[in-house]
């Protein structure tokens, strides 16, 4: 299983702040699994759900390393962090 860590704001939206476990072999399929469970997050992650292009304020990290290729392979036990732009001070 892959553990997905969401930004606090997205956790608020789905009332769930713990990591979300999904079964996936790539980042894209992990995000698709996430959005199947929580479709209300769709517009916060994709610019356009059809093209599946990430919003320009979202960064992805697998095991703490930045990843930009959504087709990058995942291994069981990997941690996928979504970190979105913030400006709060």
């Amino acid at each position: 299983m892959i553990n997905i860590y969401l930004p606090y704001r997205l956790g608020q939206q789905i009332e769930h702040h713990d990591p979300i476990a999904v079964s996936a072999t790539t980042i894209k399929t992990a995000l698709q699994q996430l959005l199947r469970q929580y479709p209300q997050l769709d517009s916060s992650i994709w610019v356009d759900a059809r093209t599946q292009q990430l919003t320009g304020y979202t960064q992805l990290f697998v095991n703490q390393q930045q990843v930009t290729d959504l087709d990058a392979q995942l291994q069981a036990g990997d941690q996928l962090h979504l970190v979105q732009a913030m400006a709060g001070g």
Binding site: T55, G56, Q59, Q64, Q66, V83, M86, A87, G89
Partner: protein, 254 residues
């Protein structure tokens, strides 16, 4: 201009001068340094207070408006008695109480693309604690253009991050986040409990001191990220975007 540390300053700072990473030479570097802080609220005010205590020689503070009641849950440099007063006057008053020998230059305005290169020009290090992306992108562009290190920290709710941006060495803000979130329409969109920006600001102050004195590991090419609700803490590696509209043309510095 170099001013020597006075006997009174050495007495006040002796416990940090005891640190081998600082010592008298490092303390003198801090006294000789100029740090510009854009927005001096929950994050930036924490940085300013910590740097004043640490003996920074010159702070440039940039912040418009007046002190409003809703800011008092997190602003280190304002109290209930300061409501409706001009922000930078209040910050200056409290900063001088912490460190009476520190030079303070105040600009009672919020930063803009036109003014950022002027207001930040003389800084050795820039600190970004602005609550609007428009200001953050303006600060980022100025820091890259003038090749000044930028310590950037931000938060939302119980989450936050800090990174250090150096032109040619690290990703800039526009590399990491080329677009701002649609929902971030004003400075009131983020819920906040004072401890969170306090923690972000404290870490940023440490980063500024390390940059100036030159010790320890920096948050260059790394994004320190935390969620205080879950205590999930991460040191994330970040990379330059070769298509970045702000820094792609800056030559890579190994």
């Amino acid at each position: 201009m170099t001013a020597s540390l006075s006997t009174l300053e050495i007495a006040r700072l002796t416990r940090q001068i005891d640190l081998p990473e600082i010592g008298l030479a490092g303390q003198q570097q801090l006294k000789n340094a100029t740090v510009a802080i854009s927005r001096v609220g929950g994050v930036g005010g924490t940085v300013a207070a910590a740097l004043a205590r640490a003996g920074i020689g010159h702070l440039i503070i940039v912040h418009g408006g007046k002190v409003d009641a809703q800011y008092l849950n997190r602003w280190q440099l304002a109290t209930a008695a300061d409501q409706d007063q001009v922000t930078v006057d209040v910050f200056g008053k409290h900063l001088r109480q912490i460190n009476p020998t520190m030079q303070i230059t105040s600009y009672h305005e919020n930063i803009s693309p036109a003014r950022a290169p002027i207001l930040l020009a003389s800084a050795d290090v820039i600190v970004d604690g602005a609550p609007l992306f428009e200001e953050r992108y303006a600060i980022n562009a100025a820091a890259i253009a003038q090749r000044t290190p930028l310590v950037s920290g931000a938060m939302y709710g119980h989450e936050g991050y800090v990174t250090t941006i150096i032109a040619g060495q690290t990703p800039c803000l526009a590399c990491l986040y080329p677009h701002k979130p649609d929902y971030w329409v004003d400075h009131q969109v983020f819920p906040v409990l004072g401890a969170c920006p306090g923690m972000i600001g404290s870490l940023m102050a440490m980063e500024v001191i390390k940059l100036i004195v030159g010790f320890g590991q920096l948050l260059t090419r790394r994004l320190w990220h935390m969620n205080l609700l879950t205590y999930d803490m991460n040191l994330l590696t970040v990379e330059r975007n070769r298509h970045c509209t702000v820094c792609a043309t800056v030559e890579e510095i190994p």
